[in-house]
């Protein structure tokens, strides 16, 4: 009975507790924390950048930062909020660095522009008819559509889907107000729905 209880306790342990244990020198706590968040964070970078190598670079940078800042870690917010705030800042820095921000961020500066996704400029004829019909290709369409979303919408969408964060936490991470963030999220879903419909027809999955 005792080992089962221990396992349960370990499962119930919060991210914050694990981080504190790691700060005190418990390596196993870090392993557990890493296992919990590695997938979501990696995919957050991958879906944002669409490049495995870049995603791996940024992913490693973030975990290095988590490791080095562990002794100073204080529970002021949820660990995931802190982790994704670091990730988002890293991403913005990276985008600014490679000057992609000029192409991606400047265009959707207002809400009206945000609602206009980049895939609308793409030709519908790019997708073959059999892909549109294939149910298995719906997810591929979604991937493409995510890539076509404006950065702020993509940020909101990925933080919600990958990290499972609530709107207020996303707003906190992005430094935006709650309503703006909610609006961005709504536009993101709407744009994705339209994009998929364009590619594969009515979304009936």
């Amino acid at each position: 009975m005792l080992p089962i209880n221990n396992e349960k306790e370990q499962e119930q342990e919060t991210d914050e507790t694990l981080m504190q244990r790691y700060a005190l020198g418990d390596f196993a706590a870090f392993e557990q924390l890493y296992q919990r968040h590695k997938g979501g964070l990696y995919r957050y970078f991958l879906r944002q950048l669409g490049n495995h190598a870049l995603a791996e670079d940024l992913f490693q940078d973030i975990w290095s930062k988590v490791i080095s800042q562990a002794p100073k870690y204080q529970i002021k917010a949820k660990f995931s909020t802190w982790l994704y705030t670091l990730a988002q800042h890293k991403l913005i820095d990276h985008i600014r660095h490679i000057k992609v921000v000029e192409r991606v961020i400047e265009a959707p500066s207002s809400e009206s522009k945000e609602s206009e996704p980049s895939w609308q400029s793409q030709g519908v004829n790019e997708l073959t008819p059999h892909l549109q019909l294939e149910k298995s290709h719906a997810s591929a369409a979604l991937k493409t559509c995510i890539q076509g979303l404006p950065l702020v919408q993509k940020d909101c969408f990925l933080l919600k889907e990958e990290a499972g964060l609530s709107v207020d936490v996303i707003a906190q991470i992005l430094g935006a107000n709650y309503e703006a963030c909610k609006s961005r999220l709504r536009y993101a879903y709407e744009n994705l729905r339209q994009c998929i419909s364009h590619k594969i027809g009515q979304l009936t999955l």
Binding site: G25, A70, R193, L203
Partner: protein
């Protein structure tokens, strides 16, 4: 929630479900290992740093703890001693504290005998008191004479007490006189030592003056001889006039110096004679004085 909202939520849920079916990409095993190694390394380095720090702290603590009590006790003792010595020297200046044994040694024989007598009297007091009625022809068992007996005993007792008190006072007085005498002798000895050293200084001064005076007088004689040579008629030339006047000045100055030295020497000799009454000045010393001074010295003797 409106119908529109419900539809919107349903659409969002469909997209979320579709998103969930996407391939769940993961970082490579190599990347995982790299990050985990980094985390492990960080823990190890932090632990070693903490250990080193703890060791340094414990060493510091141990060395201080080892000497904490001895040092504080030593400091306290030193502090109390300094205060005690300081206060003692302030409030007990130059008092003579004699041990009982020393007092006994210094005490005159009469005082010793009186003290001995006191003790004997004390010892015999009760027995004498008992014997007195019998001496006076009274019986202790005589009921009528009880009152008289007690009165006589009390009188005798008072008389003896008075004698004892007088003797004790005399002994104390003698002791005080003795102590005072001892102190006076001590002071005398000290003043004699000071006087001797002063006398020595005066004597040294006299010797120095004697030497200086001898030299000056010798110079004076030489200069006078030179003057005698120059005063010859053949030496009275114009080119010698200047030198002549210069030598005259020198001669005068030298005479003044000799006179001053003679006065000082005479004064010192008189001072020394007051200190050492039986002192006889040597002929050599007397010859350095002027004739008048020599005459005065001889007359004073």
């Amino acid at each position: 929630m409106t119908e529109v909202d419900k539809n919107q939520q349903a659409e969002q849920q469909k997209i979320s479900d579709l998103y969930a079916t996407l391939k769940q990409e993961q970082p490579t095993a190599e990347l995982d290992q790299r990050i985990l190694d980094l985390a492990k390394q960080q823990v190890a380095s932090r632990e070693s740093a903490l250990k080193t720090k703890a060791q340094i702290l414990s060493v510091d603590k141990r060395s201080w703890r080892r000497w904490q009590w001895p040092l504080s006790i030593a400091a306290s003792i030193l502090f109390v001693s300094v205060i005690f010595i300081d206060q003692t020297s302030k409030f007990m200046p130059g008092s003579v504290i004699l041990a009982p044994q020393e007092i006994n040694e210094l005490m005159p024989d009469s005082a010793k005998s009186s003290i001995a007598r006191d003790s004997n009297n004390n010892a015999n007091l009760n027995s004498e008191a008992k014997e007195q009625p019998e001496v006076l022809g009274l019986s202790i068992n005589d009921g009528a004479g009880d009152e008289l007996t007690s009165t006589v005993v009390e009188d005798k007792h008072a008389q003896l007490q008075g004698e004892q008190t007088a003797l004790a006072k005399q002994a104390v007085r003698e002791k005080q006189q003795l102590t005072e005498r001892t102190l006076v002798e001590k002071q005398k000895r000290e003043s004699t030592a000071v006087g001797e050293s002063q006398t020595q200084l005066v004597l040294l001064e006299i010797e120095t003056l004697q030497q200086r005076l001898s030299i000056k007088q010798a110079q004076l004689v030489i200069l006078q001889q030179q003057e005698g040579v120059k005063l010859r008629p053949d030496s009275l030339r114009e080119n010698n006039i200047a030198r002549f006047s210069l030598n005259t000045l020198k001669l005068k100055e030298l005479k003044t110096q000799v006179s001053e030295l003679q006065d000082t020497l005479f004064a010192q000799m008189n001072a020394y004679k007051q200190q050492v009454l039986d002192w006889q000045a040597s002929d050599e010393l007397l010859s350095l004085l002027s004739r008048e001074q020599q005459q005065l010295w001889l007359n004073s003797r």
